[in-house]
Symmetry: C2
DNA sequence: GTCAATGTTCTTGTATACAAGAATCACATT
DNA sequence: AATGTGATTCTTGTATACAAGAACATTGAC
């Protein structure tokens, strides 16, 4: 049996149906949903193929994410409510405490909270939805690069700066801080990938 | 027979299947695709309902579009190729000529070209894809507001400004121009909606 | 008269059977 | 030997049959 869910692999409907003991119909629906979210690619009359984003696409996605988050920050600085501001501070503090305890998982969770509060504080529900979507899609790669030496402390400082700018109503400062915060993640990803490539020969090639 | 594709209407699988002389299966697939693109909403075990974006959501979408286009412009100003620049100019000129002839359809088509060239010239394929997606989703509402008095001439001038900024490599100028270009569309939409509401009593209510 | 419970009907979700297009392999021809 | 053509097989796309859950109506009780 071939390894599963590896880049470029073809997902056979009947095989998957048998594997999960259901008929082809729900499998098809699930695959279509995956295709809509971009994780797999359907070629008409050919089948569906798992498709990890190429390295280049990943960097592009981080660039767009940086801009979306910057927009969230810019709007949030003007529109955030008192209650949301408190939640933002709480998340930032929880991040800090998690970092001091060296609890990466906890840091990760509170980091999520921090960003989602900002998305909603933008007051633009469509923007919040799009940001969450992309955030989720980049999740595994973001998580990966928390391993970079000293990244936790640096990331936390960036959160602090953003939170202060938002609290002060400094729209452009918040935007700048967030754009930078995400861009750095993209940059770190490049470093990780370079190392990964050195050790594993290949990065993440595009589909066959 | 009820009016079709009106806000909140339920789309019955068997009815649609009969209407287009196919079985329920392809109808279901089509409805799922529509749900993924956000044009309809599926309630589990209840059915799918047409769902026009609410007025507020529409404005939010235009705001995000403005930011995405601005990002495209900023990148394009730095990355555009000679060939793409020529196509951008050609589209702008075609817009101008269409306007002078008063050919709204032609203007509309060339306007599409203009923007799509910019998306691709950004050199960020993910950004281009997302921009195209949202652009398409806003299409009917953009088209609507070309009717605003004097909008065509104004829009054309904005295109000119953007094209010049891109040609000059002025990233921030291009970004500003595009953000403004789209924002104006959002503002005009508000005016149109206000009038629409005055004459028709209701705007576009959220689903039942 | 109103409310609740139960049964009927209607609609979606799932399984399976069938059709049509794509890939592959064999064989023939150049 | 290489390439093109045809047949076979495999896989997706579509149709239909069946099951299960939701809405609705009817009937009974308070």
């Amino acid at each position: 049996m071939a390894a599963e869910f590896v880049e470029g692999e073809r997902l056979d409907e009947v095989t998957l149906a048998a594997r999960f003991s259901v008929s082809r119909t729900p499998v098809r629906e699930a695959l279509h949903a995956l295709a809509a979210s971009g994780l797999v690619e359907t070629l008409p009359r050919r089948g569906v193929f798992v498709r990890y984003p190429s390295f280049i696409k990943l960097v592009e996605m981080f660039d767009v994410m940086a801009e979306l988050e910057a927009m969230c920050g810019r709007l949030a600085a003007r529109r955030i409510t008192e209650e949301e501001l408190e939640r933002l501070e709480a998340a930032a503090l929880a991040c800090e405490s998690a970092m001091e305890r060296g609890d990466a998982d906890e840091y990760y969770r509170e980091n999520e909270r921090f960003h989602h509060v900002l998305y909603h504080a933008s007051g633009n529900s469509f923007l919040a939805e799009q940001s969450s979507r992309l955030h989720k899609r980049l999740q595994p790669f973001r998580r990966l690069q928390l391993r970079v030496r000293g990244r936790l402390r640096q990331s936390m400082q960036e959160h602090r700066d953003v939170q202060k700018a938002v609290a002060a109503g400094d729209a452009e400062g918040a935007a700048r801080g967030l754009r930078r915060h995400i861009s750095i993640q993209g940059e770190n990803l490049k470093d990780l990938m370079a190392n990964f490539a050195r050790y594993h020969q290949r990065t993440m090639p595009q589909k066959p």
